[in-house]
Symmetry: C2
Subunit: 298 residues, 2 copies
C-alpha cells in the first residue's frame, strides 16, 4: 500500500506553507484566444490551457482541482483532455483532486471509482469528489480503491452554492441533514486516517458558511476539508480556513480552492502574449497563496 | 420548441404497450467474447455490444438507458462509445435516458447539461439522471435546456439500492428527506408538464419500495417515474408499477428499467453465435415486456 493520501496531502500543504488549491475551470467564453481556437480543436486548447496553469500553479499550490463538467461540455475530446491534464499535473509533482461529483450504486459506483481513481484508462486522480445522496454503499467502492492505492475521497457534505440549503439544511431531530451526513461518515473517516492523524475521507465544506465549517470540524475532527467558494465566490481567506485547527506550522486541515480568481484575473484576460498571461496568473496565485498563508498564521 | 419530452415518452410507451426501459450496463466480465476483445479495442466492442442491444430492444422497449459510469471505466474511448450509442439509439427510434447522475452548481451544472442533453459534442440524450443533493440551483440549467429543447430531467428522489435509506430516510418533521425532495420539486414538475398532463421532470423511484412509490405518486402526481430495480435487483413487475395510475390503456406513469435481466440472460451468456445471442436477448426482452404489460393491464 502507498502512503496514505491524507499524509501526502498535509505534507505537501505544509511544504508549500499555504492551503491553496488551484481549480481549473475551462469556461468556453473565458479561455484567452492566445491558447488557440477552442471550437476548432478543443482537446489541444483545453490541454494547453490546463498544462499552462499547472506550469505556474506547481510553484504556488500543492493541489490541482480540474472541474470535469466543464471539460465534458466538449465531449469525449474534453474528457480526454482532462485525463491528460491529470497525468501532467501528477508528473509536475501536484496532487490531483478530480472534481467529478460522481455518485451511483454497486457495480456502477465501482465503474466510476475505476474511471476516476484507477490507472489508465482511468484518470488516476489522487482524490475524487463524490455525492452521498444515494447512501453509504455508493461510497464503498471509492473508499475501497482509495484505501488500497493511497488515495482519497472528498464527500459533498456542505456545499457553497446559493441553493445548498434546499436539502442540506432540512432539520433532522434538531440538526441539519448535512450534519447527519457528517456524523454518519465517521467509520469511513477512520478507515482513511493516516499516520498524520488526518483522514483522506475529505469533506467538501463551503467557505461561504464559516460558522458551519466550525460545526463541521466538531463533527469530523480528522477529515481534511476541501473548501470551495474562496475568492470569486465571495468568501474571505479567514472564512475559508474557519474549519482549520492548530497544526505544527499554524492552522491546517485541508485545502482551499480558487478557480476564477487565479486563472482568469483581469490582467490575464487582457494579456497579448503567453509571457504576459503567465505573469498575470503568477501574480494572482502569489497573492492568493499569501493571503491564505497569512490567514493560517493567525 | 420541440414537443414536450413527457408527451413523446408517454406516447412511445403507449405505442409499445409496455413501460419496459432497456438498460445498457457494460460489465467488463459479462460482455460475451462474441463481441471481440474488450481489452484490445474497448470502443469497438462497447459500441457493437450496445448497438446490438438496440437492434433488438427497439422492437420491445420505447426507451434505452445507458449507464454512463460503466462506459467511463474504459476512459475516453468508453465515453465516446456511449455518445455514439445514444446517437444510434435515437436513429433507431428509441428515446434515450442517459444514466449519468450528474449534479453540480452554476456554470459547471451548465457544462453537464450541455454535455448530456446538448447536441454534438454532447450526448444529445432525451433525458438525463441528476442528483439533487446540492440544491435546486443544480437542477436549473438542466431544466432550462430541457424546456427549450423538448427534453427531460430525471431527478434521484428515492433510489433502490440497499443503502438508499442512509440519508434519504432521515426524518424531517415526520416525513423522510426523499418526500421533502419530492414536494420541493413541484415548480420544476409544473415547468416540464406537457399537453398529456405528464411532466418530463421524472422522479427516480426505486421499485424495491412499492409502498413508497405510492406515497411518491401522491407527492408528485404528474411526474413520470423512472423505476430501477426490476428483475435482477429483485422487484416484481407488480412492485415496479406500484406508482403508476390508470391511463387510457391501463396503468401508466413512467418506465421500468431492466438491465441485467434482459441483456445478460443465461442463454445469451452461453451463445456461440451472434444469432443465438440475439435470439436469447429477444426472448428475455419479450418476456420482460409482456410481464410489465400484464402488470399494467391489471
Amino acid at each position: 500500500m502507498s502512503a496514505a493520501f491524507a499524509d501526502r496531502l498535509i505534507e505537501a500543504v505544509r511544504a508549500k506553507a499555504t492551503p491553496l488549491c488551484a481549480g481549473v475551470d475551462p469556461f468556453a467564453d473565458k479561455i484567452p484566444a492566445l491558447f488557440g481556437d477552442l471550437r476548432a480543436d478543443p482537446a489541444a486548447v483545453l490541454l494547453k490551457f490546463g498544462t499552462s496553469i499547472v506550469d505556474v500553479a506547481a510553484k504556488h499550490a500543492a493541489v490541482l482541482k480540474p472541474q470535469l463538467g466543464l471539460f465534458e461540455q466538449f465531449g469525449e475530446m474534453g474528457y480526454a483532455a482532462a485525463r491528460m491534464l491529470c497525468e501532467y499535473a501528477v508528473s509536475a509533482g501536484m496532487i490531483v483532486i478530480l472534481d467529478a461529483k460522481r455518485g451511483d450504486i454497486g457495480t456502477t459506483a465501482e465503474g466510476y471509482a475505476r474511471a476516476t481513481l484507477g490507472a489508465k484508462p482511468g484518470f488516476n486522480a489522487d482524490c475524487v469528489t463524490v455525492n452521498p445522496y444515494m447512501g453509504k454503499d455508493t461510497l464503498a467502492p471509492f473508499i475501497a480503491l482509495a484505501k488500497q492505492s493511497g488515495k482519497g475521497v472528498a464527500v459533498l457534505v456542505r456545499t457553497s452554492n446559493p441553493g445548498a440549503g434546499d436539502f442540506q439544511d432540512l432539520q433532522v431531530g434538531g440538526a441539519p441533514v448535512w450534519r447527519r451526513v457528517a456524523e454518519m461518515l465517521a467509520p469511513e473517516v477512520a478507515e482513511l486516517t493516516g499516520a498524520s492523524g488526518w483522514s483522506g475521507l475529505m469533506a467538501v465544506a463551503g467557505a461561504t458558511y464559516p460558522e458551519e465549517a466550525r460545526t463541521l470540524r466538531e463533527a469530523m475532527p480528522r477529515a481534511l476539508f476541501l473548501v470551495p467558494g474562496y475568492g470569486a465566490q465571495g468568501a474571505s481567506a479567514a472564512d475559508a480556513v474557519a474549519g482549520f485547527i492548530a497544526g505544527p506550522q499554524g492552522l491546517e486541515g485541508g485545502v482551499v480552492n480558487s478557480s476564477r480568481g487565479i486563472t482568469y484575473p483581469q490582467a490575464a484576460q487582457e494579456a497579448r502574449t503567453m509571457s504576459d498571461w503567465r505573469a498575470a496568473i503568477d501574480a494572482a496565485m502569489t497573492a492568493a497563496a499569501s493571503e491564505l498563508r497569512a490567514a493560517c498564521a493567525r
